[in-house]
């Protein structure tokens, strides 16, 4: 196992896939000569040249659409958004085109494209730079949404995403780019899309946590362990397809569930998964499913407010206490 930063794992994935398939290329703001706003694409320009590593203007709608068109013609674009907050400008291409073209042409074209970039908050960046969009895209048929939490997952899943024959939204986190972790050195390491991973086994409560929130859940679990509460943590890794099976299996053991996600509450991942759990495992639940997510307010700039806003281990522990009636 090599120890890599999250960004390095991503870069390896892109690099390997570019090496493997000439039709894979990268485009986005500052991805080439600047080496990436967050250095995910560092070195790729030098290695692959100006044809395959392309700096774009700040034209999210336009370059997303150019990506969609290129994908329809058989290329495999990796389109980087500097953050998914800016991808809102490209929503028409993602929601009205990439996800629908194949169906409405009766299968005559497909859109094998990866839209990737940082999702959700990254510290004190204010209301317009802090929103988690994974749940929103998961709402729309035809899109796969991936939001990994660790370098190993990131590498294996990004390689899958690039090879996937349909549109994938691949979400990262500015705050996790520097995170180090062991990454498989297996040649051509692939993690299939749609498989959750039990990252901590436990008997007392199931915690489902994605992306950055996985690390919060982990902290909470460590503290809970000291208190004699043995939490099982499931990282879905893929938001959609969502691996409900793994979650239900765990709940049949623990009978309690807390979902931690980084979206606002209304219609976020937690509500979807919570709904499905009550429907599929009603008789196994000893307590209602609880969620820990952002409050229904915009991200504030001020540090203490921001800290209050972002879910933390304390919030997770409180929710666990609630489902355990502690």
């Amino acid at each position: 196992m090599a120890v890599l930063q999250f960004r390095e794992a991503l870069k390896e994935a892109i690099d390997e896939e570019m090496d493997r398939d000439e039709n894979v290329f990268v485009m986005g703001e500052e991805v080439a000569e600047y080496n990436g706003a967050y250095k995910v694409t560092e070195g790729l320009l030098d290695k692959y040249g100006f044809k395959r590593v392309i700096d774009t203007p700040i034209s999210e709608l336009g370059f997303a659409g150019i990506g969609v068109g290129a994908a329809m013609k058989g290329l495999r674009p990796i389109v980087e958004f500097m953050t998914f907050n800016f991808a809102v400008l490209a929503a028409d291409q993602i929601i009205n085109h990439a996800s629908k073209v194949r169906y409405m042409l009766g299968g005559q074209a497909s859109v094998p494209i990866v839209f990737r970039g940082p999702n959700a908050s990254a510290g004190q960046l204010g209301a317009t730079h802090s929103v988690a969009y994974d749940s929103m895209y998961a709402h729309f048929p035809g899109l796969s949404v991936i939001y990994p939490s660790e370098p190993d997952d990131a590498k294996g899943l990004l390689k899958s995403a690039i090879r996937n024959d349909d549109t994938v939204i691949f979400m990262e986190s500015e705050q996790m780019y520097g995170l180090k972790g062991e990454v498989s050195e297996e040649k051509d390491y692939i993690i299939p899309i749609g498989k959750a991973k039990v990252k901590r086994e436990g008997e007392d409560v199931t915690i489902v946590a994605t992306g950055k929130m996985y690390h919060i859940a982990k902290q909470a679990a460590e503290q809970l362990a000291k208190d004699g509460v043995d939490a099982e943590i499931i990282d879905p890794r893929t938001i959609k397809p969502f691996d409900l099976e793994t979650v239900i299996k765990s709940i049949k053991k623990t009978h309690r569930c807390v979902i931690v996600d980084e979206a606002h509450p209304f219609g976020g991942l937690a509500s979807e998964v919570g709904f499905l759990i009550q429907r599929e495992a009603f008789d196994y639940l000893d307590a209602p499913v609880q969620r820990v997510c952002l409050p229904d307010v915009c991200a504030p700039f001020s540090k203490p407010l921001f800290d209050l806003w972002l879910p933390d281990a304390k919030n997770v522990i409180e929710a666990v206490n609630a489902v355990m009636y502690r």
Partner: protein, 366 residues
């Protein structure tokens, strides 16, 4: 004495303004080419084929309208009637593997790029035998194996996609060019600006063509967009052209020269073709925004009639031959209606098909 404040007006006022009896025209047609088909490098057979195509598009849509009115199918039906010279002149000017993408007014484009009348009509009827398996309907005709990438329903949404085809062609170095057609209404979408800038900056071999038919739904061109549309190219230093879209030879001549330039030099082009939509925007349009006189004036320039007359005037075909063509097409279209009518609807399972090229995944299929 205080001046009486004039009430603010934002959008230019349309027909409500008093025009002193002059016919209010939404677009002015540039003159048609004076060249004969041979000078343009077209054989007699070519122009006969062009007429054939235009007549097919016309009759296909007239029948489609009838079927719609008979309740044979639902949804939107946007007719291309009046604009057939553009699809036809263009397709004859392009190579067969050049890419074409357009908006929802797409039947003409589909037919001229090889969707059979049967496949087209069946699509309108929502049948499994339709070109898009009945999944798309009127707005989403496509035949991608013939490089016709379909009709799209979000105004302006397919513009960057057309740019993407050009990107891919340049990337692949395959010598193909891309052409992207859209209405005057789409000119006001931000996507156009972003795509033009990138196309010029990146030298993408794409022809962006505005089919300016005078109206965006009920809004005359000059009420929704400022200045002359083709002049938008100026801001980007992009090559541009303006020409008559009611004459297939004019379209052919211009598109041929443009396609050559675009292919040779890997550059984009911004083109305004003036034309006119004879029918309402869709089937439920009372058309109060234009005068009968205006419509009549443009009907005098009918592209199908014009081509027919050309065949006769130039003695390329006799009336009898033309009649034969028309009859054959008439039969083909009627047969297509029959085919569509008798074709099966998609099976219920089809609801879940065609979403994915790779592993299909339907969330919570319950």
């Amino acid at each position: 004495m205080a001046k009486k404040k004039q009430e603010a007006v934002f959008t230019p006022i349309g027909l409500n303004k008093n025009n002193n009896g002059k016919v209010d025209k939404s677009v002015e047609l540039p003159p048609a080419t004076k060249k004969k088909h041979k000078e343009l490098g077209l054989s007699d057979d070519d122009v006969i084929a062009m007429f054939d195509q235009m007549y097919l598009q016309r009759r296909f849509e007239e029948r489609a309208m009838q079927m719609y009115q008979k309740g044979k199918f639902g949804g939107f039906l946007h007719l291309y009637i009046g604009q057939e010279a553009i699809s036809t002149g263009t397709v004859f000017a392009l190579n067969d593997d050049d890419d074409i993408i357009t908006a929802y007014r797409d039947h003409g484009w589909g037919l001229v790029r090889g969707i059979s009348a049967k496949e087209g009509m069946a699509e309108l009827f929502g049948k499994a035998t339709g070109c898009s398996k009945g999944k798309g309907g009127s707005m989403h005709f496509a035949k991608t194996e013939n490089h016709f990438w379909g009709g799209y329903g979000i105004v302006g949404g397919h513009i960057p996609i057309g740019g993407g085809f050009a990107f891919a062609n340049k990337y692949l170095g395959n010598g193909q060019i891309s052409t992207c057609f859209f209405g005057d209404g789409a000119v006001d979408q931000g996507a156009l600006h972003e795509t033009l800038n990138m196309s010029q900056l990146w030298k993408l071999p794409c022809v962006y063509v505005v089919e300016n038919n005078g109206y965006s739904m009920g809004t005359a061109s000059n009420r929704h967009t400022v200045g002359e549309i083709h002049e938008r190219a100026k801001g980007y230093g992009m090559k541009s052209a303006l020409f008559n879209g009611m004459d297939a030879l004019t379209v052919y001549e211009n598109m041929k020269a443009i396609a050559d330039d675009v292919r040779e030099n890997s550059i984009p082009y911004f083109v305004e073709i003036r034309t006119y939509r004879y029918r309402g925007h869709s089937m439920s349009d009372p058309q109060k925004y234009r005068t009968k006189e205006e419509l009549e004036q443009y009907q005098k320039t009918d592209p199908v009639e014009r081509m027919k007359q050309y065949l006769l005037d130039e003695k390329i075909a006799k009336q009898k031959e033309i009649d034969a063509i028309q009859e054959r097409i008439e039969e083909d279209v009627l047969e297509a209606v029959k085919f569509a009518d008798e074709s099966p609807f998609p099976e219920p399972d089809a609801l879940y098909e065609d979403m994915f090229a790779g592993t299909p995944f339907i969330h919570d299929k319950k």
